[in-house]
Structure formats: C-alpha cells, structure tokens
C-alpha cells in the first residue's frame, strides 16, 4: 500500500465538495438526495481509510462505516417517501417549488 493516507482524504474531500455542490445547486429534490449520498460516501471513505492507516486492530472505523450505511438507508427510505408523498399532493419535486413555509 504505497498510497499515502492524504490521497484518500483528498479524494473524500473532493467527493464531499461535489456532493455539497449537488445538494446546493440541483433543483430536483431527488437529485439533492443523490448529492447527500455522495457526501455520506465521502465520510465513509474517510472512516475506512483512517481505520486501515491508523489502527487496523481497532474496528471502530469499519463499525461506524456500517452504521453510516444504516443511516444512509434510513435517510433514503424516509426522504424518498417524503418526496413521493409531496409529489402526490403538489405534483412537483422541484425543491424551490415546495415553499409552503415561505414568508
């Protein structure tokens, strides 16, 4: 493993930033969730890389990656259910048009 840890971290940072960009710039609510998934994966890359590079005997990194999986699954299930529910009522999934809380 001749790759320095910083490469993984930079990759994760880049993935995180791309995901953040997606979250902030996409119109479609589903696309926003896609961005969130990218961000969660960036976190997971960090967790696993730290596990491998710093302390492989301690499984904390992998365990929390597993927990992030669970959280991601929960988040997608609830998020998509909400989006579908909103779509049924308002016939739109554009985040900017879901502005009942306006003013």
């Amino acid at each position: 493993m001749n790759v320095p840890l910083s490469w993984y971290l930079i990759l994760a940072a880049a993935l995180f930033s791309i995901g953040l960009f997606g979250v902030l710039s996409r119109k479609n609510a589903i696309a926003i969730l896609l961005g969130v998934e990218l961000m969660l994966n960036a976190v997971n890359i960090n967790l696993v890389a730290f596990w491998r590079y710093l302390d492989p005997a301690n499984m904390a990194g992998q365990v929390f990656a597993v927990i992030v999986f669970a959280v991601a699954a929960a988040e997608v299930a609830v998020g998509l259910a909400l989006i579908i529910s909103v779509y049924r009522r308002r016939k739109t999934v554009i985040a900017d048009e879901i502005d009942l809380m306006k003013w």
Binding site: L5, S6, A13, I18, F21, I30, V76, A77, I84, S85
Partner: protein, 170 residues
Amino acid sequence: MTVDRIIFLVPAALILGSAVMVVITRKLIHAALWLVAALFGVAILYAILQASFLAVVQVVVYIGAIAILFIFAVMLTRREMLDKGAQTRSNWWLPALLGLLILVGLVFLIIGQPAFGQPAAALPAGLDALRSLGTALVSPDAFVLPFEVASVLLLAALVGAVYIATGNKE
C-alpha cells in the same frame, strides 16, 4: 508512479468523474446511474483498503437497494420520460464557489499534516478483519449499543417511510 498508485487512481478517477456527472447531468435517471458508478468505485476503494465486507455491503446496500429506490422514485415522480429545462438553479456559481472553497481549505489542511503522508503499514498478522468486525458489532465491550441503536433507527425509518408513502386512505 507504482502499480499501487495506479490501482488507487483508476477508481478514484471513476469516483470523481461519476460524482461530477451525478451533479451536472441533466437526465435524472442518468444521474442515479452515475451515482451507481461512483458508489461502485467507492466499493473498489474499500476492496483496495482490505475492507472486503464493506466493499460487498456497499454494493448490496447502495446499488442493490438505495440506487434502485432512487430509480423507482425518479420514475414515480414524473409524467414524461425526459427532464426538460435546466436542472440546476440559476445561481449555481455560489454553491460551486462554496464547494471549491471547502475543498481548497480541506486539501490545504490535509497537506499540512505530515502524518497523513505515510503509506499504510501491513495489516497485523493474524488479524481476521471480518471476524473482528463481527465481534466488535455485537460485543458489549465494543459497539453493541450503537449497533442496536442503528437497528432501531432502521426500524423507525421503515415504519415512517411506509406510513408517509402510503398516504391517507379514506
């Protein structure tokens, strides 16, 4: 430039390229499929990092469940096949700037840490990562509580999602 580095760079390029496509592509289905590609790249990274269990679970959970859910949701929330018009907000440059700033800041901080420049040591001999992960998840001395909390969270999300998506049946 050793083989190791090439083996890292190929999936890394796949991940970043796919991730960029996820956020800029116009067709939402394509975005979801690019997400699959990006997540597959992450699975490859896990395999490179010798976290074989996570690699396979990544494929099972993300591609087998989450991506499929996304595609379903995309299909269920439209009346026509194609996405028309701009898919990004008009002031997309601000998020781009923010993302860039965060990236630059993080890279700056990461490079500033000499400890992060080290290559990884070999895994300790006799470490069965799969077995010790399993033990860690259910051992009371380790992470059984977070693990149980996560399972309760999943159950709650399951019930909540079913309730929300069912809607009120009069």
